[in-house]
């Protein structure tokens, strides 16, 4: 290799902030080349993709509607990932929250009780929590890998939802189509802004953001989680109750995802349908990493992710470009970011002699970069 990666003495704080920007720039450049190859004006396309969607207040409210569930899921995941609890199951937790919350909402078709909505939201959050309790239990008591159990549970939750809307929760007056009755006003989230779809779910997300920030950076529990993620043995020696931390991370993350789910059905959707989530739980994984597992980062990255979704729709409408671009952009962005993160712990040097890469310090992991290097000897 002509270039070599050289270990920095300390992790570069600069690069930790610069890396996402660099990744964004690289994505934009690659995107421009792609648009140019497709015979589209790159500037105009990028404008339509990334700026036009938020060129008015309404656009921002839509961005909020789209970002809120992703943000809620990603915040929970960040807590998990900080503690090296690999919860891939936000999607399932979201769907189960939507299902149970929706089922409760359907009990209030005749009621206008003020307690209905809080009850629905609580049911959704608790359901998400319960769904996350399964991998927590299996991990702490049966030593079962949570990556695999949470993936399986995603499929189970989806099929339970499908079963319910095709069966027991089907709208009796709905000509047998697979969707529930429309929720009543009493169990629908109030709007923040008239003539928009922005509901109070975004406030929950922002509240969760502050809460997670406090938890992670101001509390002893947050500190314990971080240490656990850094070095299990150290956490053990320090006498931290590892199991309790795993439980806490998963339950919190499940509750937030469940809340995201119930907010979707009682907010913009307004009923239970087969397709509650277009993969928010999976997008949230990307968002959590993009946001370096930090609440503020997640705020920004969830908005960026939402923007890519909405922009992808707009370039279809305005410029006739295929939807596949959305996936391409998301994949590219994440690849670039993961690649750029290496610069947090390494600097690029011209290689005087073919030499070896070395490893980062554990501190790099806390930065959320999660960058650890393998040997590359040749």
């Amino acid at each position: 290799m002509i270039f070599k990666l050289e270990r920095r003495v300390d992790d570069s704080r600069w690069m930790a902030y610069l890396s996402p920007i660099l990744a964004g720039a690289l994505t934009l450049i690659t995107g421009s080349i792609l648009f140019w190859a497709l015979d589209k004006d790159p500037l105009q396309t990028l404008y339509t993709f990334f700026i036009a969607p938020v060129s008015d207040l309404y656009g921002w409210t839509e961005l909020g509607v789209k970002a809120a569930p992703i943000m809620l899921c990603a915040l929970g995941l960040a807590v998990c990932y900080r503690g090296k609890v690999w919860n891939i199951g936000a999607e399932g937790q979201l769907l189960f929250g939507a299902l149970v919350g929706g089922a409760v909402a359907l009990q209030f078709l005749e009621s206008d009780s003020a307690f209905a909505l809080p009850l629905v939201l609580l049911a959704g959050a608790l359901a998400g929590m319960a769904w996350a309790a399964i991998p927590a239990l299996l991990k702490t008591h049966f030593n079962t890998n949570e990556i695999l159990t949470t993936i399986m549970l995603n499929y189970i939750a989806l099929n339970l939802l499908l079963f319910s809307v095709h069966g027991p929760l089907k709208d009796p007056g709905g000509f047998n189509f697979p969707e529930s009755a429309l929720f009543t006003e009493a169990v629908t989230l109030p709007l923040l802004l008239e003539d928009s779809r922005m509901h109070i779910g975004i406030l929950f997300a922002l509240f969760a953001l502050v809460a997670v920030w406090v938890l992670l950076s101001k509390t002893f529990v947050g500190f314990q989680i971080k240490v656990l993620g850094l070095d299990t043995r150290a956490a053990h020696f320090a006498g931290f109750k590892e199991r309790r931390l795993v439980w806490l991370a998963l339950l919190l993350s499940g509750a937030l995802a469940g809340l995201a789910g119930v907010c979707e059905v009682s907010g913009p959707i307004g009923q239970l349908v087969p397709q509650v989530s277009p993969g928010y739980g999976y997008a949230a994984i990307i968002v959590a990493f993009l946001g370096r597992l930090h609440p503020v980062g997640i705020l920004l990255s969830s908005m960026l992710m939402a923007l890519i979704y909405i922009g992808g729709e707009l370039v279809q409408i305005e410029l006739n470009l295929p939807l596949a671009l959305t996936g391409l952009f998301q994949g590219m962005l994440l690849f670039f970011l993961l690649a750029c993160d290496v610069l947090i712990v390494y600097r690029i040097r011209l290689n005087p002699r073919f030499s070896t890469m070395r490893k980062p310090s554990p501190e790099a992991l806390v930065n959320g970069a999660d960058a650890k290097l393998s040997t590359h000897s040749q």
Binding site: D56, Y58, K66, N176, P178, P268, P274, L314, P322
Partner: protein
């Protein structure tokens, strides 16, 4: 380029907000600018099935009307919270007419329609309408009835296999209509149904078809989107019917014909009425008579007399002399559901959730 100028103008419109966009869309009609038509698709235009059939029709409209129309589409729009935003975006972008082509868009379409009273909406397969929301669908079951007639004449084993997606009324209606046609010429024949719980999974559909074949079915029909069942029939040397569009490309020996959607004329009609300014909200449910449903070219293996019979039945349906669900229609227990001399009402057909006599097995609920 003209197109680029156009989107510059649109950008302007967006920046200035909804009011201006509406104003511009009104302007564009009076100024004899192209009428703008938006399409919302549930799948990718490349799914070779349902969405493909709609996109073909969109292209047909463009061909027919040339620069009098400008179409846009959004594909793979999830039926959840995203649908409403996309539909609204299309309305905001100055589209005069918007087709929402999946059942799950029903409530989002109505919500957006309320906020854009000047934009016309057409929703496929739903049952709720508004002043500016019409519904449309094709009576594909009429085509399925005719395929049933062919199957009844062509089967030797008297067992027909049917690959279903989800047990919703639309699919059950198709199975029942097919069975009615089948039993009208061959009372001994029965239909076996296998549900794959997916609209689109070529491998699974193929497997379902093969399962049916090895359980004695010598003709396969399908209400799923992929050509998997046709490929299975071709490989096993039995017959099959396509769905959505002519699928003979995937098995020219097996493919007897297909019950196809022909949205082109329907869309052309709706777009023209918007151009002429006489669009009204209607519940269009057209079948063979309107050309919205059609049969693909018949396989040459079908004997002359059967071709003639199918042609006669088709004419009878077109002239209203024959109805696939004309009494007596019996359910699986033999109980008469539609008495002799009556036909099933559209409303009953829309919520159909029982099998007619001749379908084997239980309908999953």
């Amino acid at each position: 380029m003209k197109q680029e100028k156009k989107s510059l103008a649109q950008r302007f419109a967006k920046a200035a907000g909804v009011a201006l966009a509406l104003f511009m869309s009104a302007q564009s009609v009076t100024a004899a600018e192209p009428v703008k038509v938006g399409f919302v698709y549930v799948g990718p235009t490349g799914d070779a099935g349902w969405t493909y059939s709609h996109d073909k029709a969109r292209k047909y409209v463009e061909e027919q009307l040339g620069d009098k129309v400008k179409t846009t589409y959004v594909e793979s729009v999830a039926e959840g919270a995203d649908a409403e935003r996309v539909i609204r975006q299309l309305a905001k972008s100055g589209n005069d007419l918007i087709f929402t082509t999946s059942f799950g868009y029903m409530n989002p379409t109505l919500k957006v329609a309320k906020q854009f009273p000047k934009v016309k909406f057409e929703h496929a397969s739903g049952y709720k309408r508004a002043k500016n929301v019409g519904t449309y669908f094709d009576r594909i079951y009429e085509g399925r009835y005719l395929t049933g007639v062919i199957a009844g004449k062509m089967t030797k084993s008297n067992v027909i296999g049917y690959v279903g997606s989800f047990p919703i009324p639309e699919v059950v209606r198709g199975i029942d209509a097919f069975t009615q046609g089948l039993r009208s010429v061959n009372p001994k024949a029965v239909v076996k149904v296998v549900w794959v719980s997916s609209w689109y999974d070529p491998a699974k559909e193929r497997e379902a078809a093969e399962t049916l074949i090895l359980q004695g079915a010598d003709i396969i029909n399908q209400h799923t989107d992929s050509p998997g069942p046709i490929q299975a029939a071709q490989a096993k040397g039995v017959y099959a019917f396509g769905y959505h569009s002519d699928m003979s490309l995937y098995g020219k020996d097996a493919h007897l014909t297909a019950a196809t959607h022909n949205w082109g004329p329907v869309y052309l009609d709706k777009v023209k009425s918007v151009i002429d300014g006489n669009w009204t909200s209607t519940d269009f449910w057209g079948g063979l008579a309107t050309g919205a449903t059609a049969l693909a070219p018949l396989n040459s293996a079908i004997p002359e007399d059967v071709v003639k019979l199918v042609e006669e039945r088709k004419q009878a349906i077109i002239e209203g002399k024959l109805h696939p669900f004309q009494g007596p229609v019996k359910d699986q227990t033999g109980a008469i559901k539609v008495p002799a001399g009556q036909v099933m009402s559209d409303e009953d057909m829309l919520s159909l959730n029982w099998y007619v006599e001749g379908v084997e097995g239980e309908l999953p609920k």
